[in-house]
């Protein structure tokens, strides 16, 4: 977010033409095709819909749009504010757009730039609303203190009236300016006979304000101006913070596509030309230089090289490719330059498909909040009935008290505390994690994390360092270990191959000259002291000059051979090391009596090494699909699963898990999929997540319990007329305030 605003301070000052389109525009096929995908079978129209604030909105949109005959499917991404509708060919989108507009949402074509622009506008608008609500709350609150004190100690009737007359316009302004969105959304949903959280909020606000205005006009009774402004402010604050979390997510996804090269070298008319990525078609030949990312899924036509596929697999070792091998978009060419034939357009590449999958999965998650929203809708109908009954009952007993008693019922039973209970605790918990370097990517992740009782690790990268280390060295008779390592280090100094990195900080044998990297095989050099050729690399490459080289000592490690002409010198093994602190935190987790296991795609012996060190159950050599099945088995057995992974092949696993954590240095796609991202290379942070989750759950429960208890006690008392309106107002404000303050206790949670 911050980087984005720094880079994008300037926008063209011209009015945004996209603001002024009506539904009719969508009849224009030519314009439509500038952003939609139209073919013989379907029209896929991506739309940017502003104003979707909650899961309930997504549900409402889905219901109303899906019912239309021309709509094949609707797909909503709440996080991105994106709605993709899929229409039958030869139908027009205009009626669907009209439905959305009538529901009160602003609809624009989805374009990345316009989304980012809209994000900044939204942010400023929210900030304005929040700021005005805050000022109003403080000022009205100040007047209210004088009024409450006056009620106890005595106050001139004139002065009391003046304070009320001052509070009234301030409150009305706050409602009209900051609270507008509640009323708009409530009204639009009401037209379609649906109740959302905003319906109850709007109703409570209207009733409390009308009663206050009535009292001010008559010069008697109670006013609730302070409660009204305070409620508006706290609700806006909770939504503002929640939205900021979501926006951060969006930027990440947008940036992901940016990591691919904008220009690629293409062979056209017998010449290499640098052309924009978008203009290149499947079937064309492209060249990818050393160190460049590959932009398309393609097949190698000439050259051999090594490809870093960490983005997909999280594997530290690159894959060797040669003619006719397939390479994927988003992977990096680490060896020599390659010529490739493009097989698919970018939108069909493995990278794009995975990114889409992830988008889709993210939109489906926030089920927790949906339940709360539905509950609030039911709650408000109960309260309404209670208020009406109170009114009728009092009308028959003591007509002059009927109005005030029923208003007291409504005000006391305001759903404020209930609607703030969970978001306030989650926001505080997420902020606590944020200050400790953990990125939180889903608002509700903490609730699921608290319930997790089974933990699945993906071994590669999650428990181990991404860097390999030199573990054992077998030297030939009479060869000094240090000399062997120094010679190897001198040969490896110019290579960026991951297998070369462990050598980079070792001392070099200065006698080594003429180092040459031979792609996919190894390194060759010359020892100027002994006047002999040196080779470092795989078995067959080294045997060419040293036939006496024995076989690899074992298959559990990654071995490289070092030989000189006619004589073998050493076998050096590289292995993965445990991340710092891994043992500690595994023991800690075991103490919490959680089921912990490792599911890995690595070979049996390599996984076994790590698992036995930590004393964990493990399954090795699993394909991504098999990992997923294993996870679903655990879920079916009743476990709430937390998955920790880093590679793109973990993305399905992370998605299906109840709660997911990606580790620092994880691929962007895995991160986009996770609920939490641990940003430091310190897995201790997992414990912090557990801790924050438990604390948040505790606070949420306290809040809900308090809100429910307060309503259960307050409602009957108010209905019986025992609660004077000023006490009802105080109760309403105090119950919301207490919920927020209780959530703030999370700030002081110890590490």
């Amino acid at each position: 977010m911050t980087a984005f605003y720094r880079q994008r301070t300037d926008y063209p000052p011209t009015a945004d033409p996209q603001k002024i389109q009506t539904a009719d525009w969508y009849n224009d096929k030519i314009w439509l095709e500038t952003f939609a995908k139209v073919d013989a079978k379907q029209q896929e129209i991506p739309l940017m819909v502003t104003g979707m604030s909650c899961a309930a909105c997504a549900w409402v949109i889905e219901r109303f749009v899906q019912d239309r005959a021309e709509v094949q499917s609707v797909h909503i991404q709440l996080t991105l504010g994106k709605v993709t509708i899929n229409l039958l060919p030869d139908s027009t989108a205009a009626p669907v757009i009209e439905v959305l507009q009538r529901l009160g949402y602003t609809v624009q074509p989805w374009r990345v730039d316009s989304r980012l622009h809209q994000m900044r506008e939204d942010y400023r608008r929210d900030l304005r609303h929040l700021g005005i609500a805050f000022l109003g709350m403080m000022q009205v609150g100040m007047f209210a203190i004088a009024l409450h004190a006056g009620a106890l100690q005595g106050i001139d009737a004139d002065l009391q009236q003046l304070l009320r007359l001052m509070s009234a316009p301030l409150t009305l302004f706050v409602l009209a300016y900051s609270g507008r969105e509640f009323f708009q959304r409530a009204w639009q949903h009401l037209k379609y006979r649906t109740l959302i959280m905003d319906s109850s909020v709007a109703l409570a606000l209207i009733l409390a304000t009308s009663a206050s205005l009535w009292a001010t006009l008559k010069g008697g009774g109670e006013t609730y101006y302070d409660s009204v402004t305070m409620f508006v402010f706290f609700l806006l604050l909770a939504r503002f913070l929640e939205k900021r979390l979501r926006d951060r997510d969006l930027i990440q996804l947008v940036q992901l596509a940016d990591e691919l090269p904008e220009f690629v070298a293409v062979l056209r008319d017998q010449q290499w030309q640098r052309l924009p990525r978008q203009s290149v078609q499947p079937g064309e030949t492209i060249r990818v230089a050393t160190g460049e990312a590959i932009a398309f899924d393609s097949r190698v036509t000439s050259g051999t090289s090594i490809i870093d596929e960490a983005v997909f697999t999280g594997e530290s070792l690159p894959r060797t490719v040669q003619k006719n091998d397939v390479v994927f978009a988003g992977t990096v060419n680490e060896g020599s330059s390659l010529e490739l034939t493009i097989e698919h357009s970018f939108s069909e590449s493995r990278l794009a498909v995975l990114a889409q999958d992830i988008d889709r999965a993210r939109a489906e998650k926030p089920a927790h909040l949906q339940i709360i929203d539905r509950f609030a809708a039911r709650f408000i109908s109960v309260v309404l009935v209670a208020a009406v009954i109170t009114f009728i009952a009092w009308w028959n007993i003591e007509p002059e008290r009927a109005l005030w008693a029923s208003i007291a019922v409504l005000v006391v039973a305001c759903p404020c505390a209930l609607s703030l209970a969970t978001p306030a605790a989650l926001t505080a918990g997420n902020a606590w994690l944020g200050r400790r370097g953990i990125r939180v990517r889903s608002e509700t992740g903490l609730l699921a994390a608290a319930a997790a009782d089974h933990i699945i690790f993906d071994k590669t990268g999650t428990l181990t360092e991404t860097q390999l280390v030199i573990s054992t060295i077998r030297t030939a008779q009479g060869v000094d270990i240090n000399t062997a390592v120094n010679t190897a280090a001198a040969l490896q100094q110019f290579s960026s191959h991951p297998a070369a990195r462990p050598f980079h900080h070792r001392e070099h044998n200065t006698a080594v000259r003429n180092v040459e990297i031979i792609a996919a095989q190894g390194v060759e050099g010359w020892n100027s002291e002994r006047n002999v050729k040196l080779r470092l690399g795989n078995l067959s490459f080294c045997r060419q000059i040293a036939p006496g080289l024995p076989d690899r000592p074992d298959d559990n490690h990654y071995w490289i051979a070092l030989v000189e002409d006619g004589r073998w010198l050493a076998w050096i093994s590289l292995s993965e090391s445990l991340r710092a602190g891994t043992e500690n935190f595994i023991n800690e987790l075991k103490r919490e009596a959680l089921g912990i296991e490792i599911l890995s795609g690595d070979t049996q012996p390599r996984v076994e090494n790590i698992a036995s060190d930590l004393g964990l159950a493990f399954t090795a050599a699993l394909k991504p699909e098999e990992k997923l099945t294993a996870l679903q088995d655990r879920q079916q057995a009743g476990a709430t699963v937390m998955a920790i992974g880093d590679g793109l092949n973990d993305a399905p696993l992370l998605r299906a898990a109840d709660v997911s954590v990606a580790v620092a240095g994880a691929t962007a796609l895995a991160q986009a999929q996770a609920d939490f991202v641990i940003t430091e290379e310190n897995t201790d942070q997992l414990l912090m997540i557990r801790k924050a989750a438990h604390a948040t759950r505790r606070i949420t429960r306290q809040n809900l319990l308090w809100a429910a208890g307060y309503n259960l006690v307050g409602l009957p008392l108010a209905a019986l007329g025992f609660v004077p309106p000023w006490a009802a107002a105080l109760g309403m404000s105090a119950s919301s305030l207490l919920v927020v303050l209780n959530a703030l206790r999370l700030r002081r949670l110890k590490d």
Binding site: R124, L127, R128, G131, F143
Partner: protein, 59 residues
């Protein structure tokens, strides 16, 4: 006590002024970057960056 009849409306005037200033500064983009400005004072490298930003704003 009579002064209160003047002071209370004056408080209202102040709120209006502050609200107007707040909206003005938000629209000018002063709150666009809440996380970074606190650090910028400590970061020498960014001085040139913020200068060019100021240029942009003027243009």
């Amino acid at each position: 006590m009579d002064s209160l009849y003047l002071l209370i409306p004056i408080a209202l005037v102040f709120v209006i002024i502050v609200a107007a200033l707040l909206i003005w500064s938000i629209n000018r983009g002063q709150y666009d970057d809440l996380d970074n400005d606190a650090w910028r004072a400590l970061n020498d490298d960014l001085t040139s960056n913020s200068a060019s930003k100021a240029d942009n704003d003027r243009s």
